[in-house]
Amino acid sequence: MVMGDLVREVDVAVIGGGPGGYAAAFRCADLGLETVVVDAGKRLGGACLFEGCIPSKALLHVAAVLGEAERAREFGVDFGPPRIALDPLRKWKSERVVGKLARGLASVARGKSVEVVGGRAVFEDSRSLRVEGDEPQKIRFKHAVVATGSQPAALPGAPPASDRILDSTAALDLPDVPERLLVIGGGYIGLELGQVYAALGSKVSLVEMTDGLLPGVDRDLVLPLARRCEKAFLAIHLGTRVGDLRDVGGGVQASFADKTATFDRVLVAVGRRPQSDGLGLEATRVGVTARGFIEVDERGRTADRHVWAVGDVTGEPMLAHRALRQGKVVAEAIAGRPAAFDNVVVPAVVFTDPEVAWCGLTEREAEAAGRPVKVAKFAWAASGRAATLGRADGFTKLVVDPETGRVLGVGITGPGAGELIAEGALAVETAMLAEDLALTIHAHPTLSETLMEAAETLLR
């Protein structure tokens, strides 16, 4: 290959191999479009597979097993204190979990003749891009799909990430189990990783700037999680900002709430920011917001008719399953089909213990919008299945239109909420009535009955 001389002509060039990128690429290929993916790591899976959803869930599963083993003493089963070997744990996570899924995606790509080019893509104009790095080349495309995702946001004013100051990506590599861990940020990333490290044995302190954990989520959904975190963590500081963060050698000094404390490691989990710079977008007509999000219409098309965008780089909520759907929409739109991202719900799940999941309209949003809603709650204390699991701290909530009885939103807290929310998402997306949920037979004894039970409270 002659450096920089190769010009490839394709129908679709996808930039970024994450869920949005590979969903778009696979669907494009299915629709007969010649498609190439440019990915800096020359791999499919993106942040989701390599530094997000998947590895964090693997570690949370470990934490859940540890938690269950400990709770088993209640039932008269004692495994003794756990011994944790990090090397096998890391190996299991990266080879058996992440590696296996990555190989699976690679083989799907081969099966669909989607080539993955390694390198960084930079737009030269609205019809071509330059790939820098391992496989330098020019690609002329009819359509480009920007799926560059997001990366962990830095704490303003804090020193850059180091051995001791970790972002979520570094924390998932599990360098060790620090004795004292400070988690900055009480959002889902901070809580999930805080619980992982707490389960592995760290003393976790958490600092959250706002006055509650999981800002924006209905308070009643958060409460069972907050109670559990209060027990599992050394301390939770709400309404608190970290003033100063200093790597002092052998530890990190952090000052907050009028005191200074030293930690072995600090996890900065203050959100994620879109990755839209350095792409050469200024050579196109693509519009980017002040926060760095690429502006798209409901089909995923940018202001440049040859350029589309999907996933985290297009805005909130930055969730892999939103990107997956957007990727398919964009592919179909490119192929000339009347597709649109018209989805009503993008379910959200926090994979903590207990899990918190919601979809559609929340009580908070209804209140802020001045929209009258009926709310039905069912506490798991009355669920047979919850009792057999020894977990009565969950509950299920429906947000319903008072006039039509239509289900507008669902919120669930408790073990397995992330799986249960699927029924809620289906109900809201298909404009079901609460009555439909109430009159559908749900298997007994399961936690899914709580959706039916909540709906029944609305029947007269």
């Binding site: 609205s126 200024e282 980017v288 202001a303 008719r305 000339g336 009347p338 597709a339 018209d342």
Partner: protein, 471 residues
Amino acid sequence: MAVDQAQTVTTAGVCAIAAYAGVRAIGAYNGRAMPRAFVLPDLGEGLTEAEIRQVLVREGDVVREDAPLLEVETDKATVEIPSPIGGRVERIHVAPGQTVKVGQVLVTFGDGGAPSGKQAADTLDPTRTLAPEPKTMVTDAGAARQTTSAPARTDGPVPATPATRRLARELGVDLRTVSGTGPGGRVSDEDVRTAAAAPPPAAGEQPPARPSAETPVVARPLARASVEPPPLPKFEQYGPIERQPLSHLRRTIAERMTLSATLVPHVTHFDRADITDLDALIRRNLEAGKARGVTLTLTSFLLKAVAQALGEHPHFNASLDPAAGELIVKRYVHLGVAVATERGLIVPVIRDVDRKPLLEIQRELGALASRTREGKATLDDLRGGTFTVTNIGALGGTGAIPIINYPEVAILGVARGREEPLVRDGAIVPRLLLPLSLTFDHRVADGADGARFASAIVHRLEHPDALLLGF
């Protein structure tokens, strides 16, 4: 990085049978910083470059918004590109004869160029302006179809399943205007199909003056039918295949023919004209014509005959407005002439054929046909036709039934004239006979009307003196 200016410069309206409706130029104005660069706008699918024919301004000129800046020629047509803003032309980056690519800077404006209010409004939704034409016939024809029963909903998503919402998009139905009959007001597939079959609302424009008919008739929209093609079989199972993308022109032809053939109930009337005398007249005057720089052909006489017959039968010089339930009769006669080109069928238009002398028609016809064959027809050459004549005689055959050039209501097909034995006064005589086929929209006219209109054409072709004297 935002697109500050985006504007649709030209939209070819109704052009031709083969029409060529798609040429549109979208001016893109990159207003990142002063001075501002104006780039070659996207000219539509498939067109990536254009040749500069003329630069209509000079450096230093102060131009108004919409003032013509340049004339460019693509392989489809010649397009004038107006200025996206008012301002001073600081630099012109191109020269006549130069080939420029879409996105290449044409002109730089200096300070003082300010977008007007209209421009600003256009920019509010650049993606919409930049988006392509609706892709399918169905959405094209049915865009923003509404039912009158439900007021537009504005609060939140319309209750419908994702599959129903997709169906609505496929049928071009705006879900917000559909009243749901399901529980909780949920919109069902059936509701969407009903809405798709319902007539669209009347256009918002000022209606043209109605003739003062003796019997006042209330105009009501016609019912609408929609057709979904079934999926294609997997041809691969029978042998190797190759998929070839359609050219822009081919696609345009395909779409417009499908539209016409599915929307319009076609009926065809056949006739023959004895053009022995007309042919003799043309031959007698060939030299005299040449002396005036014109080669007389049958086509110009055909056009004149059609124009005169249309004067007597104006409802063939019309378009049906099914939404309003009205026939739009045109008080001008612009005749389209189908021209076969290497790229496909194109129908340039000769204007006011009823009012022009025959020699002028002949002269225009020659120039127009060669412009079209060379791909140099302008948008104005291609639009505004009221009736189409297609002469397939040069290629042989004994007759053909052309498809109406929608939204016209009739088309005249002409096959090759042949000497044939004709019985006249009990004796067989050789005569030159021209086969004609008149295909028309049965919604607008019936068989008897078609026969009378065809006779009016035949009469003129058989009696050149009547034709020339305008009897």
